[in-house]
């Protein structure tokens, strides 16, 4: 379990974010801050509002209420759960296309840098549709990083990966955070959040029930539980979920 991140600059503040679909409220009055270099995990049962929250932060959904404030000129990177790639284009062509759309200063150099970072240099000319799920996810993340974002938002980034690919993914994400990029990810896998997140946001039925480090969550449920998953389940039980 990583230690809590040292206090650093706030990159984004969310205030009272609410999203309604007709009569259903998917997200209710959610407020939090993100700081540079921290890795924030969003956990919660299915339908808790994790993807909705990330989509609002990414700008693909508009909140019904609430506001977002960003403190960096750099954009936010977004990696959707399903690889958002053109399967008929090669890895390099996908990267080049999105680099141009992102209007990065040097698309060729950015493409090359991403190929190096993701370890896909030797697969650059292969069609994305022929890559494994893990490699497609790497390209998916690489596209999210093309704009050199202040914060990278990942929706269930490891859902389709095998354990070895997952390990490499978290190594990669850890490296990003080490360079000062804020990383926020959603996951079903509580132990993954326990291992890799420096801070946790727990969403249940659209409500933000907990914000703190994994250690703080364990402590919040009595401190006698040895893993976050047990603490998470206990936490939900205590609150009638």
């Amino acid at each position: 379990m990583p230690a809590a991140a040292p206090a650093s600059a706030v990159t984004l503040t969310a205030r009272s974010l609410t999203k309604r679909y007709g009569d259903r409220t998917a997200l209710r009055e959610v407020s939090f801050e993100l700081r540079a270099g921290e890795i924030v995990g969003i956990i919660g049962p299915n339908g808790a509002g994790k993807t909705t929250l990330l989509s609002i932060l990414a700008g693909t959904l508009k909140p019904s209420q609430g506001s977002l404030e960003r403190f960096s000129d750099r954009p936010l990177g977004w990696v959707p759960q399903q690889p958002a790639l053109y399967s008929k284009l090669s890895v390099a062509q996908n990267l080049m296309l999105f680099a141009r759309l992102e209007k990065v200063a040097d698309p060729v150099a950015s493409t090359q840098r991403m190929l190096q970072q993701t370890g896909l240099e030797d697969r650059a000319d292969e069609q994305v549709g022929k890559l494994s799920g893990g490699n497609q996810q790497r390209v998916n993340i690489a596209i999210g990083l093309l704009c050199e974002p202040s914060a990278l938002l990942l929706d269930e980034p490891s859902a389709s990966l095998d354990p070895r690919q997952r390990e490499r993914l978290w190594e990669f994400i850890g490296g990003l955070a080490g360079q000062g990029t804020t990383v926020m990810f959603s996951t079903h896998n509580v132990s993954e959040a326990e291992h890799y997140a420096t801070r946790i946001l727990m969403l249940v039925d659209g409500d933000l029930l907990f914000v703190g480090s994994p250690v703080e969550l364990v402590q919040a449920v009595g401190g006698d539980r040895h893993d976050l998953e047990a603490a998470f389940v206990h936490f939900l039980h205590e609150r009638g979920h």
Partner: protein
């Protein structure tokens, strides 16, 4: 599996809706078309034949031409006018599809033909239809009725001729020039001659009987001489002289080419635009694109432009190839380009609207085909081939989809025919904007 498939269908309301509504709408249209009588073309009719002068006497019979005119009027929607110029004006300003001019000497010509075998009764049909299919419809309607009139006249003339020949054979009373004349008949003449030969000595005076035989012979010759031209005229007693008003009409070959080009343009553009947009969603790329990388409107514009460009090149190549075999006016090539580009833009806009509604690649392709084929079919039905309410429905469908306007533009580009390029071009531009806006609205539920 059966239940599973039903459950999947239940969760695909658009597909199920299409599969249910489409055959119902088609069946209703076909049923309505079959149960409705064909429409009557509006024809301006001017008759120079004075009232009461339409009767032709021959032999012992009389033909009233005006009664046959009434038969013709059952197949057309006649607009009776008072002069040839007025009839032509009705055609020129579009109030009538054709003008039928019945000349004042028609009765005299028919009489001459019947009595002497010389004469060419002719009515004049003036057409100004821009649409070759519509023109063909008017021609066929008039021709069919003229044929019926010809058959009726022929039948009556034949009856007269047969009766006259019977009288020549057996004798009787005939009216010639208002006077009743007794015909002896060949059989009676033969009996008299045979009797005379048998009864008279070789040197007996034969003058009265021989005079009678000679008289009969003269009448018999006259009678047969009268019957021959009558029988000869029964084939085609009436000629329709067809003419086009001054101005250009669409040659049928060029029109057929325009149809082929526009159908190709429509299918390629529509399916390409719908498919390209649906692919963005199938690849999960749409959400990533519209979060600041490109606006939805620009994305739609790009799809429309790309689909229109590809299909336009194809349509132009097709036109150039066809022009090797069919005369298309190369001097108007810039209008070929304008017509295919504007048509492509309108079809492209319709395509993205379909793609945005369908959201899935397969559904978009299916929906594109389901929409495009009836639209083309409806636009090709001649306006007057159906009647009443159905005509209004077809007119509305032809107006709100780009096929008809694209066909008019292409047809004009190929041969310079009415209604010109400005109207269809403006129509296509408006449709491109309208369907573009509809596509943009549909994109709200696209992600």
């Amino acid at each position: 599996m059966f239940v599973k498939d039903l459950q999947i269908l239940r969760r695909s309301p658009l597909l199920v809706g299409l599969l249910v509504v489409y055959p119902i709408v088609l069946a209703l249209m076909i049923g309505f078309a079959l149960s409705s009588p064909p429409g009557k073309p509006k024809v301006a009719v001017f008759s120079e034949v004075a009232p009461g002068q339409g009767k032709v006497n021959f032999g012992s019979q009389q033909i009233d031409i005006s009664s046959y005119a009434q038969q013709l009027y059952q197949s057309i929607d006649p607009i009776k006018v008072h002069s040839r110029d007025e009839a032509i004006a009705k055609v020129q300003n579009g109030q009538a599809l054709a003008a039928l001019i019945i000349p004042g000497d028609l009765v005299g010509q028919i009489r001459s033909l019947i009595q002497t075998g010389v004469g060419s009764p002719t009515v004049e049909l003036i057409l100004n239809s821009r649409d070759p299919l519509e023109r063909q419809f008017v021609q066929q309607t008039i021709s069919a009725r003229v044929n019926e009139v010809e058959q009726a006249v022929s039948k009556q003339v034949l009856q007269v001729a047969v009766a006259d020949l019977q009288q020549v054979l057996s004798g009787g009373t005939v009216n010639i020039a208002g006077q009743n004349v007794q015909l002896l008949g060949l059989r009676n003449s033969r009996a008299i001659v045979q009797g005379a030969i048998a009864a008279l000595p070789a040197n007996s005076p034969l003058r009265p009987a021989l005079r009678q035989v000679v008289g009969f012979a003269n009448l018999a010759i006259q009678g047969l001489g009268f019957a021959s031209p009558v029988l000869g005229s029964i084939g085609t007693p009436l000629t329709v002289d067809q003419r086009q008003l001054a101005g250009r009409t669409t040659p049928t070959d060029a029109y057929a080419t325009a149809i082929a080009v526009v159908v190709s343009l429509m299918l390629v553009t529509l399916l390409l635009a719908a498919g390209l947009l649906a692919i963005e969603r199938a690849e999960n790329a749409y959400s990533r694109l519209v979060r600041g990388l490109i606006s939805p409107g620009a994305l739609l514009g790009e799809k429309i432009a790309l689909a229109a460009a590809c299909a336009s090149v194809l349509a132009l190549l097709m036109s150039v190839f066809v022009s090797l075999f069919i005369h298309l006016e190369w001097s108007r090539f810039e209008l070929w380009v304008l017509a295919v580009v504007l048509g492509g833009l309108a079809f492209g806009a319709l395509g993205v609207a379909i793609g945005a509604v369908a959201r899935e690649l397969n559904s978009a392709s299916l929906l594109g085909l389901l929409v495009s084929l009836p639209v083309a079919f409806v636009a090709l039905v001649p306006a007057n081939a159906v009647s009443g309410g159905l005509k209004t429905v077809l007119d509305v469908i032809a107006f709100v989809f780009p096929f008809k306007a694209a066909l008019q533009a292409m047809s004009n580009a190929f041969s310079g025919t009415p209604p010109g390029m400005v109207g269809p071009a403006f129509h296509l531009l408006v449709l491109a904007v309208v369907f573009g806006v509809l596509g943009r609205l549909a994109l709200r539920r696209f992600a």
